[in-house]
């Protein structure tokens, strides 16, 4: 407060506090008593109240106009119970866009159709595609090439492991139902519907474990080549199911454990640094 001879006037900070309701009760009572007597302070209070009201209205307008409209995928994720923040973290990567999901659905439907009409060749195609779809999805969800802002993302304090799990889970949840539905329509044994999940888990784990050495895209591509060679060779030998029989499942589970140990023992793997020029 300022004084001028016998008169004193409340300063702007005190008046603004009164307008915003942040002044304590004793100070507020004193100010109100003063305002009853002081025309100058009443005029200043009115000006500040008007400014404050305009400022608040303007901020409200900006908040409404500028708040980003959720994309279709974000709206869907929020409808499934995810927070706005989680939806935005997922929407930033290609694997969560409609085009990717549509691509997975088309490829799996093609493999399913082929299986329905071509017996072993179709089952081989299905076993080729089903595990690779989530592997490629993870590469597209977390690769340095996938998120163009990855260089900034890796230097944010948000847990890289959490972001990885979030995006990998989202990819699995979106591609697995499609593959399972196609698997149900196949002519082979019933367990074929889920038999591809272990190779998929092994593929994702190895891709992430190899990423720091080769880059995520190269790692995913290498896994794809190896798996394609195995499934196509088995199909040519007229026994495509051999890649997901008990020995195949055990091998894949072992690879999952090895990859998990590699990832956990070197936490920086999760940050997936890209090779950069100087």
């Amino acid at each position: 407060m300022t004084t001028n001879g016998e008169a004193w006037h409340a300063d702007d900070q005190a008046l603004r506090g009164l307008v915003q309701g942040t002044t304590g009760p004793v100070a507020a009572a004193s100010l109100e008593a003063h305002l009853m007597r002081c025309e100058t302070c009443r005029a200043q209070l009115n000006t500040l109240a008007l400014d404050d009201s305009l400022e608040r209205t303007w901020l409200l307008v900006r908040a409404t106009v500028e708040s980003p409209e959720p994309t279709g995928v974000e709206r869907l994720l929020q409808a499934c119970g995810m927070s706005e923040e989680t939806g935005r973290l997922l929407a930033a990567v290609p694997a969560m866009r409609g085009a990717w999901l549509l691509g997975v659905a088309v490829v799996m439907a093609f493999a399913g159709l082929a299986a329905a009409f071509s017996g072993n060749l179709g089952i081989g195609l299905f076993l080729l595609m089903a595990p690779l779809a989530p592997v490629m999805g993870v590469a597209a969800a977390f690769g340095g090439d996938a998120d163009p802002a990855q260089e900034i993302v890796v230097t944010a304090p948000y847990s890289a492991g959490r972001l990885l799990l979030l995006r990998a889970t989202a990819v699995l949840l979106t591609s697995a139902p499609i593959a399972m539905l196609v698997g149900l329509a196949l002519p082979g044994p019933g367990w074929l519907t889920i038999a591809w999940l272990t190779p998929a888990a092994a593929g994702i784990g190895l891709t992430l474990a190899l990423a720091p050495l080769t880059g995520l895209t190269n790692a995913a591509a290498s896994i794809g080549v190896v798996w394609s060679t195995l499934t196509l060779s088995a199909t040519r030998a007229h026994d495509p199911l051999v890649v997901v029989d008990s020995i195949g499942q055990l091998t894949c589970l072992t690879l999952v454990v090895i990859a998990a140990i590699a990832i956990v023992s070197k936490s920086r793997i999760l940050e997936l640094p890209r090779r950069q020029k100087q």
Binding site: L59, R62, A63, V65, E66, S67, P68, E69, T71, E84, E85, R88, L89, A91, A92, V93, P94, R97, D147, P148, A149, E151, I152, V153, V154, T155, A156, P157, Y158, S159, L163, S267, R268, P273, R275, Q276, K277, Q278
Partner: protein, 301 residues
Amino acid sequence: MNPAMTPATDRAAGSARLTGIAKRYGRARALDSIDLTLTPGVTGLLGPNGAGKTTLLRILATALAADEGQVRVFEHDPATAAGRVQIRRNLGYLPQEAGFPRGFTTFGFVDYLAILKEWTHRDSRHAEVRRVLDEVDLGDLATKRVHSLSGGQRRRVLVAQALLGHPQLLVLDEPTTGLDPAQRARLRDILSTAAQTATLVLSTHQTEDVAALCERVIVLDAGRIHFDGSVAELVTSAAGRVWLAPERHLMAQHAWRTGSGMWRNVGDPPPDVELAEPTLEDAYLLLVGNHALDAQMEAVS
């Protein structure tokens, strides 16, 4: 928690120390025996392409691990997961190259990074996003798709995200690239204000930005520090080695024809020439040129 809530003790430390830092890419040596302490204020990194500036900044920003040596930022060790998180809570980083996810608006992109910077409360996060966009004069373009912005505007979006939460360490790799003179002047204003309470290190090829903004300049070449001092000290090192003449002089390491028609020669002057006031660019050219010459002499001997 958001960065504004980081304990005061972390903020008070406010400096980074690099001791014996080395980094290689295959057989190429990017950094070699770098010893450096950064204190609050603006430090400029100058050096030719491939000098190691970006590698040094990426190590400071915890985007890259050094092969050898010790790094401490706010007394935290980036080699540990906990240390990296603590550093990143007080870090604003503008990489040399960064893209934008498709479909995001300007506001949405900065909001995305604010979420990653642990701004969990929606209203305060959005207020902070508005603040940084206003800082770089992009408030009016908040609802525009990032991909529809010009190159200079996109660069300012990236600067805006680096300013989120008033970071205590700002690492900016060529922040003025693609900006017009008015935007560069505005950015200098923003950065000089930020540097009043933060440690700011930037790399650039624009010597005038360094002269205008930096209290301290470091010249890197071939992965080593060749100068570390004030801008005035570096400029002084070129005193008596810049002269104007009607033509290019054979003894000049660098020479160019100025707008007045006279040639500005930089090097060891012959007697009885009209010496000119050196600039930071002259001093930088002499320094980097001398080291290139020394390297050639070493190779010959």
